[in-house]
């Protein structure tokens, strides 16, 4: 055991002495969160909209003025007919069409409610989401003002339609996504690189000749990365919460336990990659191509799985981050317990066992 810990200590020394490794380990998660966070929650400005005012009464004119003078929107054009909406979007400049129903003001006076329809071009899902949220905020503000003035409560009933992308995912999507991506990158890429580096330098041979057992060598190599990945997971959860208000509704212990499971999965992949590569560069490229790109494209991180072609949907079954993202979204946003995520958890456990099994076999074959 003492032999083993001395070896682990040395691995920590490697990590702490190498500024590049430190940067990837600790700089990357923070930069990624801020980058993705601010790109996605970025303020909107001068978004072009079109208005279809079927009423043209004082209330709709005042609300229109308020929306246009907010600074967020520019009125591109007024349209007269509902049929024009499609064309306006196809031209591509206009991001949102606001439709006031006919008799808006009258209805408001009589019934206290009126309908506004917001149609957004959701081919750019995140912008669409923002645009709609901003518009709603302005409308709500307007409603409050009116309530104060008249004393009688009125209500607008906005109806929101997202064109081209019905399954619009929330902005909270990116924190689970980044967590899934960073944890698998750090644990798989960094471990595979650090193991392959020993092969490249020839120190692996020295270690294999020593009384350390092969399993001890591998465990010694991955132990520091379990600890560091775990710190990363915590950093991401804390930053997501403090900077972007990402809640953790469910059990934090379950969340961390699932993260550890996912980290172990990444490590097993890293070991597997290290057994099939000979150079650090190779290990890095394989990690990037087999882990990062599928994580971004197929895990549902950015593109909703429901909207993918069937084949890609099947393919996404084999992408570990897909399941992890699903698990942590459930825990963080919906506050569900293990009862609801056991299936995903089981899938991750099975994947981890398969990868570990394969890499142990590969490692042994290499020794023969």
């Amino acid at each position: 055991m003492k032999r083993f810990w001395g070896f682990v200590l040395k691995e920590f020394l490697h990590i702490f002495r190498d500024p590049r490794t430190m940067l990837i380990l600790f700089g990357m998660p923070i930069v990624q969160i801020l980058l993705f966070g601010y790109v996605i929650t970025n303020e909107i400005k001068d978004i072009k909209i079109a208005i279809l005012d079927q009423s043209k009464d004082p209330v709709t004119i005042e609300l229109t003025n308020k929306i246009i003078s907010s600074g967020f929107f520019i009125l591109d054009r007024n349209i007269k007919n509902i049929n024009e909406v499609e064309d306006v979007f196809k031209e591509g400049n206009v991001r949102q069409v606001i439709i006031f129903e006919s008799g808006f003001g009258r209805k408001l006076k009589r019934e206290g409610t009126a309908n506004i329809q917001l149609i957004a071009d959701a081919s750019d899902a995140n912008t669409a989401n923002l645009v709609v949220h901003y518009t709603m905020a302005i409308i709500n503000d307007f409603v409050r003002e009116q309530n104060k003035l008249t004393g009688s409560p009125i209500q607008f009933i906005p109806e929101v339609r997202m064109l081209y992308n019905n399954e619009l995912k929330g902005v909270y999507m990116f924190i689970p996504g980044i967590m899934a991506m960073i944890l698998i990158l750090v644990s798989a890429m960094m471990t595979s690189i650090s193991i392959v580096r020993e092969k490249e330098l020839g120190t692996m041979e020295t270690l294999l000749v020593s009384p350390l057992r092969p399993t001890q060598i591998i465990l010694g190599k991955v132990t520091p990365y379990v600890a560091l990945s775990f710190i990363n997971a915590v950093t991401i959860i804390v930053m997501g919460n403090l900077v972007f208000g990402m809640p953790v509704q469910g059990s934090i212990i379950l969340l961390l336990a699932e993260s550890i499971l996912y980290i172990l999965l990444g490590l097993s992949l890293g070991i597997l990659i290290s057994t099939i590569t000979k150079s650090q560069q190779n290990a890095m490229f394989i990690s990037l191509f087999t882990l990062m790109i599928p994580t971004i494209l197929l895990s549902g991180f950015i593109f909703p799985i429901e909207n993918m072609p069937k084949i890609l949907q099947w393919l996404s079954f084999f992408i570990p981050p897909r399941w992890f993202i699903s698990i942590i979204k459930n825990i963080m946003l919906k506050g569900t317990g293990l009862m609801y995520v056991w299936k995903e958890t089981l899938i991750l456990i099975v994947m981890t066992s398969i990868f570990f099994g394969l890499s142990i076999r590969k490692f042994k074959i290499r020794l023969e």
Binding site: K2, R3, W5, G6, F7, L9, K10, L13, H14, R17, D18, L201, G202, T203, E205, T206, L207, L208, V209, S210, P211, L212, L367, E368
Partner: protein, 262 residues
């Protein structure tokens, strides 16, 4: 020397096949305690395969092998504890300090903290490295690194040390100094098993074996070999042996080819 001729390595009929290719074809030899045993041969002759098997890295296809008193099949653990190993590729970690390297390898070989501290102090004094205790290995000149690597390889006082082309890519002066260190270790009773393709180094060994095509072509003291082939130095011995097998010539290092036509 070797009056009592106590053996430390016994190899009988060692065969290692890769598919149909016999890397080691029926090797049999003994290494005696305290001697410097040279294991020579051109690249591809099977030296590295043999050394890997003796160190317990690879399993042989067949044959009886006993290293440091332990059976290579059933007592691999014991074998590993009792041998030291240094390869051509530099075996210390460059991004950690001199002392940390010593502590790491001391720890791996199961030395106590006190033993490590004591042997580290000894070793650094002997190598004149006391002021470099906390320097990174990468900041040391190559010659020093190599001396240190060798000292670390025998830190746990093994019965036997394997050196796999330890002087590859090193200038002649440093090589000469490195051999002084090998003699020192041999004087302390450590058996040295060394592979090399520098023929001048073969002269420094007590006995040498010369491998050609996966077999041991000859094995004896350098002077006996020179007498047998009636030549002046080990290089010519090597060429005579190699000449027996013309195919083998193509596998030779360029350095031998040049010398052959001199």
């Amino acid at each position: 020397m070797n009056e009592q001729k106590e053996t430390i390595i016994t190899v009988k009929n060692l065969v290692k096949k890769f598919g149909n290719f016999k890397a080691n074809d029926n090797l049999s030899f003994e290494v005696f305690k305290g001697e410097i045993f040279g294991f020579l041969g051109a690249n591809g002759a099977g030296k590295t395969t043999a050394i890997k098997i003796l160190c317990g890295l690879w399993a042989p296809t067949s044959g009886e092998i006993n290293v440091a008193g332990f059976d290579i099949y059933t007592q691999t653990e014991q074998v590993k504890k009792n041998i030291g190993y240094m390869s051509q590729k530099f075996s210390l970690y460059e991004d950690i300090t001199v002392f940390e390297n010593i502590r790491l390898f001391g720890g791996i070989y199961g030395l106590s903290r006190r033993e490590i501290a004591q042997r580290a102090t000894d070793l650094m004094r002997r190598l004149d490295l006391e002021h470099s205790r906390d320097k990174l290995i990468s900041s040391l000149p190559l010659g020093w690194r190599q001396k240190l690597a060798f000292s670390v390889a025998i830190l746990h006082k093994p019965k036997l040390v394997f050196l796999d082309e330890p002087t590859g890519g090193v200038d002649p002066v440093t090589r000469r100094k490195f051999w002084d260190q090998i003699y020192e270790a041999a004087d302390r009773g450590i058996t040295v098993f060394v592979t090399t393709h520098y023929m001048d180094e073969a002269e420094y060994c007590d006995r040498v074996s010369i491998m050609v095509d996966g077999r041991i072509a000859d094995l004896d003291t350098p002077s006996a070999l020179k007498g047998k082939y009636r030549v002046k130095n080990m290089n010519e011995v090597f060429l005579k042996i190699a000449r027996i097998k013309p195919d083998e010539y193509n596998k030779l290092e360029p350095i031998y080819k040049v010398r052959k036509f001199k």
